[in-house]
Structure formats: C-alpha cells, structure tokens
C-alpha cells in the first residue's frame, strides 16, 4: 500500500526505506539546454525502490518524472552536482558513472521499458517486435537461444491475449493491443526491474485499467520490481509506494 513519499530532506526516512531497496538514487541532478536557456529538471532527487515493490512516481507535466525514470533505466546519465555526488545504485552496482557497455547490458538484461506511446517497430510483426529485444540481448549468440526465446515470446503473446495477432504489424493493432505487445517485449529478457512511463496515458479508461491489471498480475507472478511514472492518481493509488515529484524534487509528505 501507499507508504508515503520519501524525502531528500529526511535522511532517516531514506535509511528506513532503503533497508530492503534494490534501487537507490541519491542527489540526482539533470539540466536540459533549450537553446541558450538551461532548464533544470531534477534538482537533487533521493529515492529508494524496494525490491519486488510497486513504486509510483507521481507528478505534473515537466516535474521531471520521465527524466528520473530514464536515469534509473540507464538511458541517460545524471549531471555532476555542484555539491556532493550523484549516485544510482541497482543491487549494489553503481550506474551513474558506469561505462556505456555496462549500461547497455543493464538495459538489455535487467530492465524492461514500457512507454506511453508503445514505441513498437512498425516494420516488424508482433512476434518480431517481442523477439527483437531478445536478439539485442544475445547478439551473435542469438541462434543458440532462438528456440527458447521463441517459445518464451509465444507464451508472452498468449499471456497478453494476442495469440491470434502474432503476425500482425503494429499498424493493424489497437492502442491497447500495441501496449500489450510493448509489455510482452519488456518481459522477454526476464528483467528484474520494470520501468513504465505513463503506460495507460494514451489509452481510454477501460483499456488503461486492463493494462494496469495486466502489469500488476505480471509483477506479482514474476516478482518484479516495478516503477511506474504517472500523473493519474488512480494508477498511483494501486502502488505500494507513491513518490511525488514537484519542480524536480521529491515533495515532502
């Protein structure tokens, strides 16, 4: 259930929640340049995510929640802060200063991304969209894992209810179906951390609820750690813990 937000201003609370945390971020800063104007997005975020938990990051548009998710997923790197050190630790490994190849491997093996706009490859079929993540993970060793990966992809397709759509291309699917394909793709490499950026944001309410239920059941079945970025209070209400981001900082409770 909702544990309430952690706060960078409350180190005791951080220590408390960090005891069983698998992902811990400290003093995260990120500034984007819009032409000559520098726009600070994250201004020192501290946060820990419990293993196997469902953490919702709630915030208004521009509050920095997607940026935080990208940093946690190794898609981007934090800025060097004026004071102290930025840190992103996943299961004890430091990612903030990790090499490119370490981050590539982290994304391929340990995380799964689900995006608001699905981000499927339009030229590939449903099965191929799922398998492409496995191909990326295994590289040249893919032929040796092809059979197992294909079986896993078929199971996932069945699990998300798209067995009859295996050979269809994204353009031939509805929004909900596309998101289910994206969920299946995020799971093909059996990640331990699932990162979802507004997974229901582009869907109608009913379909959004179905997708959320699906994510929750998958998380429970696979004991996944799940972080969902959302601005939807109803989605956040289903989380074990809700973190509110306001102006690039974790808001106090």
């Amino acid at each position: 259930m909702n544990d309430g937000p952690a706060s960078s201003a409350n180190p005791a609370a951080l220590r408390e929640t960090a005891s069983d945390a698998c992902l811990r971020v400290e003093n995260l800063h990120k500034t984007y340049a819009l032409g000559r104007v520098k726009v600070p997005v994250l201004r020192g975020v501290d946060l820990s995510v419990a293993e196997g938990g469902f953490t919702a990051i709630l915030g208004a548009s521009g509050s920095g929640k997607s940026t935080l998710l990208h940093l946690m997923g190794g898609l981007d790197r934090p800025d060097r802060p004026a004071s102290g050190v930025s840190s992103i630790r996943y299961k004890g490994r430091e990612l903030a200063g990790a090499s490119r190849s370490t981050l590539d491997a982290y994304r391929a093996r340990e995380t799964g991304f689900v995006f608001q706009f699905y981000h499927l490859l339009p030229e590939l079929s449903v099965m191929e969209n799922i398998l492409v993540a496995s191909m990326v993970r295994w590289g040249l060793a893919w032929p040796a894992h092809r059979g197992a990966a294909t079986r896993a992809a078929e199971e996932l397709v069945e699990h998300v209810g798209l067995s009859h759509r295996k050979r269809h291309r994204p353009a031939e699917l509805s929004g909900g179906e596309r998101q289910r394909v994206a969920i299946a793709r995020s799971l093909i490499n059996e990640p331990t951390l699932l990162l979802a950026d507004e997974p229901t944001g582009n869907l109608d309410q009913k379909t959004g609820e179905t997708i959320l239920e699906m994510l929750l059941s998958i998380r429970a079945a696979r004991r996944l750690t799940m972080v969902v970025v959302t601005h939807d209070e109803r989605t956040a209400a289903r989380a074990d813990r809700v973190v509110r981001l306001v102006d690039g900082r974790v808001a106090k409770a």
């Binding site: 898609l75 981007d76 994304r107 995006f115 981000h119 030229e123 590939l124 492409v132 191909m135």
Partner: protein, 516 residues
C-alpha cells in the same frame, strides 16, 4: 542479429532503399559496360590486328633487303620461331570496274607462307559454308547457295593461292582484296556480306547496272610506283589483276584499305625482282668510258628483295614479354645473317625489328589511355552514387530516429546501431551490384543487336567502324573485372552508409525516443 532482421524488413518496405539500390545498379552497370567494351576493344585490337601480320616484323621499308630466303631459312631453325614469310609493303592506286579510283595499301605475299605466319586463310570470306551464320534466319548468305560460273571451293582455293583462271583458261596471278575495299558488298546484320549491283562504265560514256561478283567477274587496274634507293619514284607501273577472293579480318581499317597480290607480281612491278639492271652510280662519274651514254650509269646484278619478313612465334605470342623474347631471338638470327652479308643487307642496328605491339604502340597506347580516362570519368560519376546513398540514408536515419531510441532502450549499443545501418548499406550494395552486374551482362551480351536496333529505329550509330576499327562491338564481360566492379559497388554503398551510421550511433537514446 537484429540488424539482419531489420535490414531485411527495411529493404522491402520502403521506397527509399529501392532508389538507393537503383543508383547502385545503374552505376555498377555503367562502369562494367564501359570497361568491358573498352577492354574488349583493346583485346580485339591486339588480337585482330595480328590476324594479317606476324608477331614480329623485320622491316627495311626504303629499298627492301636481299637474301631474304636465307634469313627465313635461318629463322625457321630458331626454336622460338614457328614460321617466317617474305612480304612487300607498298602503296598503290586501284581502278575498280565502276570507274572508281582508290588509294590502297598493297601487300605482296606468297599465299602458303603468308598463311603460316598469319590467320590469312581464316579471313578469306568467300568460301563454302553449310550452316548459316547466327541471325541469318532467312538464309540470305550467298555462300549457302551455289554460284554460277565457278564454285565456292574454287574461289577459296584461288584465295589461298592468289590466282584465278583467266578467260583463256590459264591460271593467272590475282589479287585478294579487303571485303570493304570495292564497296560492292553490303554487310548484313548477321555479319555476312551480300554482293550488290554495281555501276559500270560503258564504252559510249554511259553507265549500266551490272551483277558484279568480284571473285568471279572482277578485275582491277593496279598502279604502283617503284622507288629507287633514295625513295624517288622511278616510274608508274600498271597492271590488270583479276580478283581471286576477298578477306575479312574484322578490322575495318584493314578490310577497307589493304589488297594482297602475289609476291612475284609485287617484286616485278616494284622492280624488286632478281634482274640485271642499269643503275645510277654517282661515284662512276669519275671513271667514264665504260660503254654507257651517261658515265654515272652502270650495269649491276640485283638479287630479289622484300621490304619485310613476318615471323610467327612457336608459342602463342600474345603477352608482351613473350613477344619481346621472340623479338630478341629474331634479332640474334638477323645479326648473324647481317654479318654474313655485310654491305649487302642493312646492319642489325639499322634494320627495324619490332613486335606487333611496338609497331602499333601509338594506337594501342591511345586506346589504353582512353580506357583509363573513361574509367576514371565513370568512377567519378559513380561517386555520385556514394553521395546519393549518403543522402538517402541520412534522411532514413532521421525517419527512423524513434526506432533507434527503442533499440537503445532495449539494450542495443551504439556500435550495434551503427552496424544496423552499415549492414543495411552493405545489403543495398550487394543487391544493387548483383543486379547491376546482371544488367551489364545483358547489355554487353546483346550490345550489337541493341546498337543495330538503335541504328534502325532512331538512326543513332554510336559505334562507327571507321572510327573504332571493328565492325562489331566487343561483347564479352571478363569475370575478374565483373568481380572488381561488384566489390567496388558494394564498398561504395557501404561507404555511403558510414556517415549516417555514425549519426545513428551518436544519437542520444532519450532524445531519439522523444523525437517528433
């Protein structure tokens, strides 16, 4: 592995890669067609040019040299020499039955020995054939049918021996002329000739159409100018000669300007036969009173002379080093021969001993340079393909920015993403170059029919035999050159993809995902 899957999908689902492939196809085909034709042209030039001459020629064009039979005997003993033959080269004027006059190159030859050093017998056009040549579907070639007044066997034999039966039934020396010399034969699309009706001057000053088949009815008046030792024309000598046959070497320049006559006729007309002659001797002026009106004249016994001895090598002399080896052997033989006949024949350092290639080096070198120049020009044009692919790939990378972001999100490395675009370029290169090779092969293999069609349908004659020497365009693709062009096409395409691939690799994953 995802690179192969996406490359396959991108190749067939977009119009832009097809455009890039078309650019590679056209450039590859263009370079290979030009290279094949020009190289074939050079090969034909070297090969066909030797059809009517030797691998090495010993030449003293001014006055000719004596004792040539002894030189030929010496040469035949040399292991590198297969055969040698005496020849006289000169220029002359012929008057054709229709009254036309034409300057020609005249070559005095002994039929059998000349056939041993050249491919002369193969070039004799009028001969019996049992099957029509390719494309002569209507069997229009006169050689397939009987000929009135003579037989094809007799015409062929006449050509070999340079003789023809005269009106009295006696066998007389005769001329063999290039098939294009008289202009009485019309070349057909299949490459064979059909004799045409000719205008003939009548005694009353009028003209009439007559059926004139030169090897049966034709006679020409040949005029030659014998030269003295200083190269001055002594007088003009004319003689009527029947035509025995016509040759087709395939080299237009040769077929339209060369006539062959028996060696003894050439020697006789050019005053190069063995005879006692009164000659001018400037030194004799000092010693007058030897019985002549002019104290500078004296009577000498002159041996028969020729201007050239053609030599055929025992190996298939085609490579430059083989020809040079043969030339060195001929030079050694001539040196010993000149030693024995000091003062009678030119010394070894004066006489011209040249390989066929050396004799024609200006023309061969020009063609070689022209080939290189054309290739360079077309390769520069092909660079356009590189930039075209670069431009197409650049816009494709922009279009696929989101896909790149997705791939990076699921763990693809920068190098992996770069590899996707490089392999895409490679695939377009392989597909484009393969199809380009097929297109080039089709064009080159059918270049003569295409050229004939262009000539018929649009009046465009690109390959004029008067400029390019040959009546047919070379139509062979050499496998090694096809491989080089293929590899170059694939490389060009891959190089064109490198910059867009680097752009894709350097894309920030988050920016790529947010790209609109």
């Amino acid at each position: 592995m995802y690179q192969f899957l996406l490359t396959k999908r991108y190749l067939v689902s977009k119009i832009m890669p097809l455009l890039a492939a078309v650019a590679v196809i056209l450039c590859t085909a263009m370079v290979l067609v030009v290279w094949s034709v020009m190289n074939g042209f050079l090969t034909m030039l070297i090969s066909s040019g030797r059809t009517m001459t030797g691998d090495v020629v010993v030449s003293w064009p001014n006055a000719g040299f004596a004792q040539y039979q002894e030189l030929i005997d010496d040469l035949r003993k040399e292991p590198l020499v297969k055969a040698a033959a005496p020849v006289i080269e000169s220029f002359g004027l012929i008057a054709l039955p229709d009254g036309a006059k034409k300057t020609v190159r005249v070559r005095g030859v002994e039929g059998p020995s000349y056939a041993q050093v050249t491919r002369y017998e193969e070039t004799l056009h009028w001969r019996p054939i049992s099957e029509p040549v390719e494309k002569d579907v209507d069997r229009e070639d006169p050689r397939l049918h009987s000929i009135s007044g003579t037989s094809w066997e007799e015409v062929l034999d006449n050509g070999r021996r340079l003789v023809r039966k005269g009106e009295s039934g006696r066998v007389e020396p005769a001329m063999v002329m290039g098939i294009e010399v008289s202009e009485f034969n019309r070349r057909q699309i299949g490459g064979f000739y059909v004799p045409q009706q000719a205008y003939q001057a009548l005694p009353n000053g009028e003209y009439a159409f007559v059926d004139l088949f030169m090897p049966r009815d034709g006679k020409v008046l040949l005029s030659l100018a014998p030269l003295d030792a200083s190269g001055r024309a002594v007088e003009m000598v004319s003689r009527n000669l029947a035509v025995a046959n016509e040759f087709q070497s395939g080299v237009f320049d040769v077929d339209s300007s060369l006539v062959l006559i028996p060696l003894e006729v050439a020697q006789d007309m050019l005053r190069m036969n063995a005879a006692r002659r009164v000659v001018k001797d400037p030194k004799a002026k000092l010693a007058a009173g030897d019985g002549f009106d002019d104290p500078a004249e004296k009577l000498v016994e002159e041996p028969a002379r020729v201007t050239d001895v053609l030599v055929r090598g025992s190996m298939d002399v085609f490579r430059t080093q083989d020809a040079m080896q043969l030339r060195a052997a001929v030079e050694r033989v001539y040196e010993r021969f000149a030693e024995r006949h000091k003062g009678v024949v030119p010394p070894v350092h004066s006489i011209n001993i040249l390989t066929w290639e050396q004799q024609n080096r200006t023309m061969i070198s020009a063609v070689k340079k022209e080939t290189v120049l054309l290739l360079v020009l077309f390769m520069i044009i092909s660079l356009v393909a590189v930039f075209l692919i670069l431009a197409i790939f650049w816009s494709m990378v922009a279009e696929k920015t989101k896909d790149i972001g997705v791939l990076r999100a699921v763990g693809a490395s920068s190098a992996g993403v770069a590899g996707l675009w490089v392999s895409y370029g490679l695939a377009i290169g392989i597909v484009g170059s393969s199809l380009g090779l097929c297109l080039a092969w089709t064009i080159v293999a059918n270049i003569n029919p295409i050229h004939e069609w262009l000539g018929r349908a649009m009046g465009i004659v690109i390959w004029d035999p008067r400029i390019y020497y040959f009546v047919t365009i070379p139509n062979k693709v050499e496998p090694d050159k096809a491989v080089i062009v293929f590899v170059a096409g694939v490389l060009s395409s891959t190089i064109g993809a490198l910059v867009p691939a680097a752009r894709a690799a350097l894309m920030h994953p988050v920016k790529a995902l947010r790209f609109e």
